[in-house]
Symmetry: C2
Subunit: 331 residues, 2 copies
DNA sequence: CACGCGTTTGCACCCGGTAGCAAACACTTT
DNA sequence: AAAGTGTTTGCTACCGGGTGCAAACGCGTG
């Protein structure tokens, strides 16, 4: 396997100096048409293309963005990743996908991203406490960080989120209007659940409507199975007359699991016996078996805003965007 | 924002040369305990960690692997990506997620990955024709490439796949035994469909059982909606007596869409009026509303084999691994 | 033909590491 | 004390580009 051609090789072939070669590849550089033509011809013959590693070292720009993800159970991540990578690539950037888990925690990921000189770090649906940044292993000058699709608890790190307050207001208004009065809320992983503030606003808006009691079901994780298990546990331990009449699930995956269990295992009718509403508008929730009412996050706009911040076209300040209530027949 | 400390800075602080600093960070290098201690102390004080970019330039190893993905509709990609990133990270490698689409084709992605000096390229569920490598823009010495979860049509590029022949044999045997005799097959995107060879083997094994006629429904894409639409079209244009009695869908997402339409819109019973079987064992297929029979790919083993090839512990040769039939009640 | 000015080109030095050799050092051995 | 051996350390050269300045060039003008 032959080595890649370097600027020097092309320079020799074209009979110029390596700096002229570099100029031929630098848009707007001072070079005559003639030289440029000769260089490009020699470059094509040698199959030369600049080594981006060397360029990054010299310019201090890698055009790489680390994307931290810690929850692969939510299929909604996939369309987000699709849009994100597409938009990054349109800006000449590339996504380094970092899996945050028990073997690879936030500190290690930050350290690694920093060592690799990434231009920015996007925490997509994951975040850490502000004190984590004080970890002795971490340097004082990290790449710019952004939190996507969840609140930022980190000082000076902006977040781009769907407006939870507005979303839950619209949801509760809708449910109230439909006549439901005994609300329940199913939460996923405690840390993320708190950050999303969906539960908080849900309970709050019901209180504003004079409904003080909101049942809370803890699923602990975000997965259809966890949703099914926790609702099963709830139904088994709650008298029919005491049950909630509408269950809001923190995301569609929990909702789908719960809905399936409510109908399939307990034979209850949705929405008559118990209504269900989710969050995210995951494609399958729209399937006719589910007909899941839900709330859609403004994915494209959210990604767009993060990109604008990374490229510096927008100041790095937390942005809250409105989503859209999707009413189907589950609530 | 202060600059990162360099080996030189640490060397000055510790009163040694920069090479001694580097030795302190090179496992097994020749250095006295005393020097190492002083260097590490100075390094900690300055928050020094080696610049991996510079290291990569010198060693010709980036410890980065490009992962090409072109279909984000299949939620099954997510658990694969989770395992893949986790295993890569365990080897000190990191995944660059490249979205192949209309704006960013294979040639551009290859060019970019090559310029960034990645150590390897994994084509996950995507591939191109062998001739693409002859594209004039591409250099002659690309990084090692591997195709994951689909056949490789590229000369000299190994694939790691689930054994389609074995899988379809098990599926057809099972369906035959259950008494089905009028099989149908729903295919997704033509290019990928051909590569997966599921249709080919499905039709083939039915012929071996004496069933020569297999209806083929083309969904054109892989999505629940495409599955629903194509089966709707099929049912609307086929007399009840002529309909297939079992429909094998190329993946679970198509199957879920189809199943939902068959039951929800046409009021048919599954499996009595028409049985359905998918492929991939996507979590939601197991929900009680669907009870989808399917076939599970050996995800962990497949990822493991790719990793072993990338790290050179296994020769780069196509590997075919057996999966597992999952019988639920849809077929 | 010399001069002046704007454009092109070449150059020294830099980015932050790594490789491999040679000098410096420590410690035996004779 | 000199020689021999093994370990540490420092140095030159290099990876493949980028920056900013100065020299060289081209061309119109007096």
């Amino acid at each position: 396997m032959r080595r890649r051609a370097t600027a020097k090789n092309v320079a020799d072939a074209a009979g110029v100096s390596k700096w002229t070669v570099i100029r031929a590849f630098t848009p707007g550089a001072s070079i005559t048409e003639e030289s440029k033509r000769r260089v490009l011809q020699a470059a094509a013959a040698l199959n030369y293309s600049p080594n981006l590693l060397a360029r990054s070292l010299a310019t201090n720009l890698t055009h790489q963005v680390a994307v931290f993800v810690d929850d692969f159970a939510n299929p909604q991540k996939l369309p987000f990743l699709e849009t994100l990578t597409d938009r990054l690539q349109a800006e000449g950037l590339v996504a380094m996908l970092i899996n945050i888990n028990n073997h690879f925690d936030h500190v290690r990921a930050l350290l690694n991203a920093d060592q690799r000189q990434v231009d920015a770090i996007i925490m997509f649906g994951t975040a850490f406490r502000s004190e984590t940044l004080n970890d002795r292993r971490l340097g004082r000058s990290m790449p710019p960080m952004f939190v996507l699709a969840r609140d930022s608890q980190i000082d000076g790190v902006p977040a781009v989120v769907c407006d939870a307050e507005l979303a839950l207001k619209e949801i509760v208004d809708h449910l109230y209007e439909k006549g439901y009065r005994r609300p329940g809320f199913m939460a996923g992983a405690p840390a993320l659940s708190t950050a999303l503030r969906r539960r908080h606003h849900f309970i709050d808006f019901w209180k504003q409507k004079g409904v003080d009691e909101t049942a809370v079901i803890s699923a602990e994780r975000y997965s259809a199975q966890a949703g099914a298990e926790s609702v099963r546990h709830y139904l088994q331990n709650t008298d029919a007359k005491d049950r909630v009449d509408v269950l809001m699930c923190e995301n569609d995956i929990l909702a789908i699991g719960a809905l399936d269990e409510i109908r399939g295992q307990f034979g209850l009718r949705v929405p008559q016996d118990m209504a269900v509403i989710g969050f995210d508008n995951y494609e399958l929730g729209g399937a006719s078996v589910y007909g899941l009412s839900t709330y859609e996050q403004p994915k494209d706009e959210m990604v767009e805003v993060v990109i604008e911040m990374i490229t510096g076209r927008l100041p790095p300040e937390t942005v809250t965007l409105p989503g859209k209530l999707i009413v189907r027949n589950s609530a």
